[in-house]
Symmetry: D2
């Protein structure tokens, strides 16, 4: 695949994630090894105090890191998260929540990636979470090529 | 609070989580130090391969562990997750996904909890994820008492 | 290998870990899927406050979990830790620090294990740390068969 | 404390860590929010395959991150690690292992830090591990002011 085909694979895979539509999440910049996903806080994704629940924050951070990994994987590989760790630094409130995933080290089988999550309010951005994840390149499994 | 009031606080707090309704998640058993949350796989919460996305799996595991912690906290405390780690062992597919959270060690400020997540199919259950989380008891902050 | 040969492999591998001798760590019970390692607090393994440093606590917990995994692996596989997470619940002080590792889920390539770490004082034991780790079965790499 | 006193506190605290002498670890650069610790591979800190054991790698990474945090804490606070996560990317071999810790977000009670660990061989350096840790500022506890 050309680099542009790699990035197109990320975009079309994102469109297949039913969860992203449900959360109202949208794809931002997509570059080799770096992917952004954003969402807007609203009551349908909140926890009991009105903040965005850790689940959607984790979901966009995990997907941003996972797609950053996929953007560097060969055409016949799909990506699966094997584990992640997230530190939640501040409540997820504001106009927009943006996750920026990037590859730390790409390996043949395992890739290490991180995602920073920012809360944006009137032009300011604040780091609210940091995720580290291990992604596995999966080959030869039916239905998994993205 | 009496133990029953503690458990009632968990139930009413769960009902306030907009995300849980959006995901179609429901509360199962609620005991002191142990809380269950379940959801049914459907396309609106899937990732690109049709499995339940790691986000909802993490969301119910995080909430089950968090409410297990809240069930042991004093009346004037609310609960916030400061960090969690999740290992994803197998794809989240089946009839029902069940997260069972329990407290490992309750502290005055920080509580350690775990949640096991099972995929259930025709009476069988399979461990698909394990989450470990740190919960903070928050006092004296507006709007946080659950 | 017979189960007894599996356990003997763990014992002889432990004896090759230079670090364990340096830390004064000793092997306790060794069973299929469960391994114990202990050490005694002393100034040579302390941090600045006189507690046992998180490093040796992590080292025996990681090794106990790793050997629990190795005890279930085929004869031609060696074990490597790919990642671990540890929560430190209380200072590591007392007469003896004991790590008990056990396998959560054994897979062909990746195994998930946990280790609980206890501080023992006059017959009492207190949970002071919880480690979760991912172990990889490594085959066909020179010098790695344990 | 002046910034220089802050850094001096890190240096004198490091000298009190019995473990660091036992491992042969040495302090490198010490700056506000950034601390380096190095060690040289030798059999006394090895695991069964002859690599440096994950324990010493974790120990210097945890201490580098912890001292980066301490370098920004008030004079009456000591630092304790409450949890860390480490991804081990490649075997720890080479002439020197260097951990570089830096603060991601300093808070009043909790600080998030990271440490990258590099293996150096004839002028090349390779990222072999990434640690993320949560440090707690401890006040008013006997014997803890560093």
């Amino acid at each position: 695949m050309t680099p542009e085909q790699q990035l197109e694979r990320v975009r079309s895979s994102f469109a297949k994630q039913g969860l992203m539509a449900t959360l109202g999440a949208t794809l931002g910049n997509v570059l080799p090894g770096m992917v952004e996903i954003a969402l807007r806080p609203h009551p349908a994704i909140s926890q009991q105090h009105g903040f965005v629940h850790a689940g959607p924050v984790s979901a966009i951070a995990d997907s941003a890191a996972g797609y950053a990994a996929l953007s560097l994987m060969p055409a016949d590989a799909g990506v699966l998260t094997t584990e992640f760790k997230i530190n939640l630094l501040a409540p997820a409130v504001g106009e927009r929540i943006l996750a920026r995933g990037r590859v730390v080290k790409a390996g043949r089988t395992l890739t290490l990636a991180q995602a920073e999550v920012f809360a944006e309010t009137v032009g300011q951005e604040k780091l609210i979470a940091l995720l580290t994840s291990t992604l596995m390149a999966v080959k030869g499994r039916d239905g998994i090529s993205d």
